[in-house]
Amino acid sequence: MDKKSLWKFGTREVVYAAIGAALYGVFSFLTNWIGLPAAGNIALRPAVAIPMFFGVAFGPIVGFITGFLGNVLGDFLSGYGFWWSWDLGNGLMGLIPGLMAVGIASYKAKATIIKAEILVVIGAAIGMLVPSLLEIPLSGIDLRTAIVGYWLPSFLSNTINGLILVPILMVAYDAVVSRSGR
């Protein structure tokens, strides 16, 4: 993906945004259903690695749609309704790592993985901060509750899940790229 095409949304992006969103929705729903163990506030939410990885592999728009629409699908499958502010936050969590999706020669190169890890942390921080702050006018909570009650647990959980699973997905994707020649 060259610099000019970072914000391109052609046929390939249409398909991968749809696949990413469906994967994120299905993983979110099924891993909740299986009832994975959790440690304290850090829930095992492996699904959050999907929008981050799709951002890195296919660009910011695909990352955003994967996060936004995938969260909508997960909530719809679970019957939780529509949480637009958290859908937006999940979208940002996929968009920000997508900003590096230009000129990646190898997805398993150490430099690429480190860059992706940094953007995963920034993405999780900003992505979870936006809906946490939106809860201030919506729910009437104060800044301290927004940070301690919403942002911190979701940021920690998403960051740890993303930091571990995104590199694993990148290394696996590198083999797919070599095979398909894309």
Binding site: V15, F29, G35, L36, P37, G140, T145, Y150
Partner: protein
Amino acid sequence: MLVTWRYRPRGSVIEKVDPRARWIYSFMVLLSLTQFWDIRFLLCFLGVVLVQYALARVTWAETRRGWTFILIFAVGIVALNTLFTGRGGPGEVLQGGHVLWRTDWRVLGLAIHPTITVERVWFAVSQIVRMVSISGLFLIIPYTMNPRHYGVTFRSMGVPDRFAFSMDLAFRFVPTLARDFNTTLDAQKARGYEVEKLEGGLIAQIRKMAPLVVPVTMNAILSGEEITNAMDLRCFGTRLRTWVHELHYRRMDYVLMGASVVVLVASLVVRYGLKIGTFWVPGWALAWAGG
């Protein structure tokens, strides 16, 4: 494990309304609702939400999980906020007040003084009503809106063609990917993988999810290449696409959208013109606390 949409035809009035009109109505009511902190107004909106719920013909058994999630979410965060309300939010109006309970705690060397006042308790009740109303407003959407209509709905609301098509595709991919997930899970279980009993520390447990996440994702990506090629061969995107389902506004849709606009305008007039609707504590509650 069966992955199915919550939607099924129920013959309800709500399903007869155009989905575009429903989204417009939902966001207009959301905007109206967020203007108020006075529980008397919030209860009116909660009433609207409950009427909408009753009209949707969904059962309690179907929506119990959703309501439980909403209630735990609302009560948990409001309890935290009631104990620790400081500066920065609408709760700032609660500085001072009629004290019901106060204590001094030391947490990690920091002195904190949780104080419960009549105003805070009443604000917490208002918060719960407001959060439940906001969440309940959108709760019935997955149960009463046909998943096949999302793409065309958002397309005709101005979302670009490709984005709307991507949305439509995503809804269609869900059953296929859920089946792939289940197949992979069964295959890994046959090899001795126990997803319910992941051992080790947190990092080890997350890493052990890879045998489930990686094959499903990579398979989906490989099949995506085939879908992209097929769509390119059929000249996808060279001109605007047509949709199998067409949406047409009817009189009741215009009535609903008109009423939504009236509610929003009335809310803005009441809130900012008449300056009514800010946080309110009933006199009897203050009298009870000795105020």
